[in-house]
């Protein structure tokens, strides 16, 4: 970064909002995927959309890459800097601009946290539906970038279903309104493309989200099973009964053990725990909940525990939501994977994961959104044992292969980012990836907006681009490529 550019950025954002000292830059080297690290050349902390725009204009003029960053909770390296880049932190754009209850719209800056939106509207009986586990700290700008989901997206959808309009700085430095508070804007759904584009098409500076009326009632039950396949059968029967629960979550024995060790939710003894939550009008929930309870008992649940009150319900969820962090209680290190399989393929894929765990010798805990087939295997390893970290990464990659083979996806909610871009050819053909690149180039012909994310980088070492091709060594089972 030249001194001239640094000075110009100081002029735009103020000297205290431009970081260049290596010790200051440390925080920005990675997001919540700490094994991928890179130091940016400079970090700017703009305070207004106009400053963001001015910074991007400088980057565009100088062809300097830039990476937008919310609160750094991403799990795929989506905010990973690239060498020589400007990191644009949106943490100071954290104002709630408008709360419009009659129209159920809230306008916020991107640095506002997900949960803050619900906090703002809760007094009126409303809430913001997408609830990623990190909702207390993650930014809405990051949610837009990643199209974040959460435990309740089976019924309520993802960020893309709840954002109606954004203001964004395009990679050429122009400011655009994308989407509309009003329905049916004519033309292609550019907003639908932008949400989930992982910060590669624009830097969002304002977000208008739709809020929902809080459901009249919420009912939660926990069912304990001896086998994961019995729990899986229960899920299939619930769906087949025409019920779309607000959430259907499963935890296996290792995840239960970890959660018990960490937050003592007092789960009954079980191989698998199923959590089902229904919400809606009281008579509907009462009737459907009885059906769910009957299905759980019929499919062999040893215990069915219905949350008697809100405290009980929160205890059940505490156990579920703590499961990730709790893995630290049972394993020195763990790797969180995110993949999706069609719901009906869950038993088959979980069986393969179990076999993989036995073969590799690494414990794999499973905590997942069973309703939509979104798996979060937690691969336990000990980095002090030589080779185990690499083995864990290999195992994590193998699980993605199972997901793709079952007709699923390499990521359900964490994003591709820098972490999984090389798996993209397993899901998409060369033509598909080329089309993605064309779309990206339409926004960012200089390729300076969050480079190195989503799409596999052009191979420089003679590796053939295109769909994943098995190497003879891999075919012989002697090596795997990740």
């Amino acid at each position: 970064m030249t001194d001239r550019i640094t000075e110009e950025l100081r002029g735009i954002c103020g000297a205290s909002a431009v970081l260049t000292e290596p010790v200051q830059l440390l925080t920005y080297e990675c997001d919540a995927l700490p094994h991928l690290r890179e130091s940016p050349a400079i970090v700017v902390l703009p305070n207004t959309a106009a400053q963001v725009q001015a910074v991007v204009r400088v980057c565009a003029r100088e062809a300097v890459p830039f990476v937008a960053r919310g609160h750094g909770t991403g799990l795929s390296g989506g905010a990973l800097p690239v060498p020589g880049c400007v990191v644009i932190s949106l943490a100071r754009l954290n104002r709630v601009l408008d709360v419009d209850i009659p129209n159920r719209l809230v306008t916020v800056e991107p640095g506002v946290t997900n949960l803050e939106i619900t906090r703002q509207v809760a007094p009126f009986g409303y809430y913001y539906a997408p609830d990623p586990s990190s909702q207390q700290v993650c930014s809405i700008g990051g949610n837009v970038a990643e199209n974040s989901g959460g435990a309740h997206c089976l019924k309520y959808g993802f960020t893309v279903h709840h954002v109606v309009e954004v203001e964004a700085v395009l990679p050429d430095g122009s400011l655009a309104r994308i989407g509309s508070r009003l329905a049916d804007e004519p033309g292609p759904d550019v907003l639908g493309l932008l949400v989930g584009s992982e910060g590669t098409l624009a830097v969002v500076t304002k977000v208008v989200v739709r809020i929902l009326r809080r459901p009249e009632t919420v009912q939660t039950l926990l069912a304990a099973y001896d086998t994961i396949s019995a729990a899986g059968t229960a899920v299939s029967e619930i769906i087949a009964a025409g019920i779309i629960p607000a959430a259907v979550e499963m935890m296996d024995a290792l995840a239960i053990k970890a959660a018990e060790a960490a937050v003592h939710p007092n789960f009954p003894p079980a191989d698998t725990i199923l959590i089902v939550e229904l919400d809606g009008p009281v008579p509907e929930v009462r009737e459907l909940f009885a059906t769910v309870e009957a299905i759980c008992r019929r499919t062999g649940a040893s215990t069915v525990e219905v949350a008697a009150d809100e405290a009980h319900r929160l205890r059940i969820w505490k156990g579920r939501k703590a499961a990730f962090a709790a893995m630290g209680r049972v394993s020195p290190n763990y790797y969180v994977q995110d993949g999706v399989v069609p719901r009906t393929k869950l038993p088959e894929v979980l069986g393969r994961i179990r076999a993989l765990s036995e073969r590799s010798g690494l414990g794999i805990g499973n905590v997942f959104h069973a309703g939509d087939g979104n798996l979060h295997p937690l691969i336990c390893y000990d980095e002090s044992v030589p080779g185990q970290a690499a083995l864990a990464e290999q195992v994590a990659g193998e699980i993605l292969t199972y997901c793709v083979e079952a007709g699923g996806s390499i990521t359900g909610e964490h994003g591709v980012g820098a972490d999984k871009k090389d798996y993209m050819p397993r899901m998409f053909s060369e033509h598909d990836l080329d089309a993605f690149q064309q779309v990206r180039d339409a926004f960012d012909p200089q390729r300076i907006c969050n480079p190195g994310k989503v799409l596999p980088t052009p191979r420089l070492c003679g590796e053939v681009p295109g769909p994943y091709r098995e190497h003879p060594v891999e075919r012989a089972g002697l090596a795997e490529r990740f």
Binding site: S180, A183, P186, P188, A202, P342, R343, G373, S429
Partner: protein, 405 residues
């Protein structure tokens, strides 16, 4: 030119906006479709993609239709994964046929088009919807994967077949509402919903719009979860007749409770509609704007401004015949404007005034003269939309001259 060899002469039944196409190609695969588009792009032949043609008159009028690419033969129901509640269908399959098949398994794709015979591809390309959007959104909200044929001859996929998936760019959402101006839709994958166990509709009729708007606001503020929530202003001999329709679908007990609670809130003359009567009421509501051949204009508004919108409808009636159907919760609706073109044009201009409570005023159906006279779309494409058009259709052949891109 290759494309000439692949096409055949068009017939009157394949007309676009009343004009018989010079050439029609009816590809039977995504690859064949992409090959036709590539040939058309190579020869710079303006091309219109056509499903059943139910909405092919929408857009700016053309004098000549060079090439129509019909999706008629891309009409297979490819895979119904009933246990996963997903389906993959060819673009040329009709919504009605799809839903007939799905209903045998207790499932549906809840998109209620006004057009019998509307295809999946056409519903996506226009992001068409009806009253069910109150609960389920528009086709873009249900779409989870897509296959597209591009003008460079490639067939590409985006999304997948699972309901939760954030890998890659969502080109499916991008092409919804693009009116075939970016690529041809070959097939699409949707998440499905279970058919509701029970359903009932509360109809309330008013002689004035003010109490209707107040009642609509009261229901909106309550903890109801309607399946559909609509308003209508019908032009009758006795003046405008105002109707509010609220449909509840759930378990039988929940439907009854919600219906009673809603009835207690409203002041109009109420009727509870079930089964055949209910189905007929909604079918009338969906088709209301499209009766006859008068001009149909789409517009939207912030839901809190419903009262102002209804007042505007009443004002417009002084200038031309007017009926109105709208979605209370989403703030979107259709105006049918009957009268001389000049009067209708005046009404459209009034709708587009800065002070008007409605926005995104688009002329969907109108005489060729009217559509030549007024700006059909009401807005130029945004800079990103225009850039995407250049990237995906660099020769500008798709829906050329018709918009919105």
């Amino acid at each position: 030119m290759t494309v000439l060899q692949q096409g055949r002469a068009g017939s009157a039944g394949e007309a676009i906006d009343g004009i018989t196409p010079q050439l029609v190609a009816e590809p039977t695969s995504g690859e064949a479709c992409a090959a036709v588009l590539a040939a058309a792009a190579g020869g710079r032949v303006p091309t219109v993609i056509r499903g059943s043609g139910t909405k092919s008159g929408w857009g700016r009028p053309l004098d000549v239709v060079d090439l129509v690419v019909s999706t008629k033969s891309l009409n297979n129901l490819l895979v119904h994964r009933d246990g996963d509640l997903t389906v993959t269908v060819g673009a040329g399959l009709t919504l009605a046929r799809l839903n007939t098949t799905l209903s045998a398994r207790g499932q549906w794709l809840p998109v209620d088009s006004a057009f019998v015979g509307a295809t999946i591809g056409g519903a996506l390309a226009t992001n068409d919807s009806g009253p069910l959007r109150q609960r389920f959104g528009t086709p873009r909200d249900l779409l989870i994967g897509i296959t597209l044929a591009l003008t460079d001859g490639r067939v590409v996929k985006s999304g997948g077949t699972v309901v939760k998936n954030v890998a890659g760019y969502d080109l499916g959402k991008l092409v919804t509402g693009s009116y075939g101006a970016l690529a041809a839709i070959v097939d699409a994958t949707f998440k499905l919903l279970p058919l509701p166990h029970a359903s009932a509709t509360l109809r309330a009729v008013y002689s004035d719009p003010e109490p209707l708007a107040a009642d609509a606001a009261a229901i909106s503020a309550g903890q109801f979860e309607p399946l559909a929530f609509d308003v209508r202003a019908a032009d009758t001999a006795d003046g405008l007749r105002w109707t509010l329709l609220v449909r509840f679908a759930s378990s039988p007990a929940a439907v009854a409770t919600q219906l009673d609670a809603a009835r207690a809130l409203v002041h109009g003359e109420t009727t509870a509609l079930r089964e055949g009567l209910e189905a007929r009421a909604w079918s009338e509501q969906v088709g209301h704007a499209w009766e006859g051949d008068a001009t149909v204009v789409r517009c939207s508004w912030l839901p809190s401004r419903l009262g102002e919108v209804l007042a505007l409808v009443r004002t417009l009636r002084a200038e031309c015949g007017v009926t109105f159907t709208g979605r209370v919760g989403t703030g979107s609706g259709l105006l049918r404007l009957a009268g001389e073109d000049a009067a209708v044009e005046g009404a459209i201009l009034r709708l587009r005034l800065d002070a008007s409570p409605v926005g995104h005023v688009v002329v969907l159906r109108g005489s060729r003269a009217l559509r030549s006279q007024v700006d059909v779309w009401g807005a130029a494409p945004s800079a990103p939309a225009a850039a995407l058009k250049r990237a995906l259709d660099p020769t500008g052949i798709l829906n050329a001259g018709r918009g919105p891109l």
